[in-house]
Amino acid sequence: MPTTNGIRKKPPKNTATPTNPALPVLRFAFITEFLKPDPTDMAQFLFLLFAIFTVLCAVGVVVNKNAVNASICLILCLVGVAGLFVQLDAYLLAFVLLLVYAGAVAALFLFIVMLLDVQGKETFGLRGFRTIAGFVAFALLLAGIGSVALKGQIVSSPPVSLTGGAQLKLYAYQLFTTYLLPVQIIGFLLLISMLGVIVLSKKHEIAEDAK
């Protein structure tokens, strides 16, 4: 409680004069962190590499006219996100992401794209109401989250280190104690979705006979 009081008391005093110089300095420090990467800092270099790679591949997913290329870009994007997960010490999640998402989901996308064999006649013209809405939403999202992140509102304390990262034992403990009911529900969800897919992909011969 005293700490919150101290934090609350400070801003009114600062807003009188020194906030205006303080904010640009903070913003500038954040930008230089990106612009001047320390060549000896391997982790930062890897973060930049994976972040840029991920964002470029995501742009590739959206921009590509060919659906096959888009799904391959999606796989590469997932690999980049898995690299970021490794940097966040979530090794198991990175592995699961590669295995489940890049291995199964994106491959399923690829299969469906090739199965449907859609001719590339998509009207990809940048016109219409939806395009304007898309650009406006893109700008709004970036501006909103970017302004919060750039002003340094999020970071308050240095990261607490889990012992040796998120270990498999910790996951297992959480899944079988705190999250036991969600695990059961997820099992039912998978069963239901499996049944749903079977029903959906079955050919309805009775309905066709009725016609």
Partner: protein
């Protein structure tokens, strides 16, 4: 290990989410719209893992587990629906699937 700040991860996550949202709004091919949805989901998981790492708790990581499972189920059902739709209408372009409009 984690030297890049939480802000950087949140910004990457926000950019990914915005790109996915942009793709959902702008593309006409149902399959690519679906891929953009997956992109948005991945962006949210990245933010969850980053926050979980900074707070030193496991809850975010466990939630990402559940999100991955639900996403796998969702992709299976969604692709089955798209295949059924293609079988019936011979197209997956959104602007040709406007039967309910008139």
């Amino acid at each position: 290990m984690m030297t890049a700040s939480l802000n950087a991860y949140v910004i990457v996550s926000a950019v990914l989410f915005a790109i996915g949202f942009f793709g959902v709004l702008i593309r006409r091919n149902t399959l690519i719209v679906f891929m953009s949805l997956e992109l948005m989901l991945i962006a949210s998981t990245l933010a969850l893992v980053a926050f979980s790492r900074v707070n030193g708790t496991m809850d975010g990581n466990v939630f990402v587990f559940f999100i991955l499972t639900v996403a796998a189920a969702e992709v299976a059902v969604g692709l089955a629906i798209i295949v059924a739709l293609f079988r019936r209408r011979q197209t997956v372009q959104i602007d040709q699937l406007d039967t309910l409009k008139n």
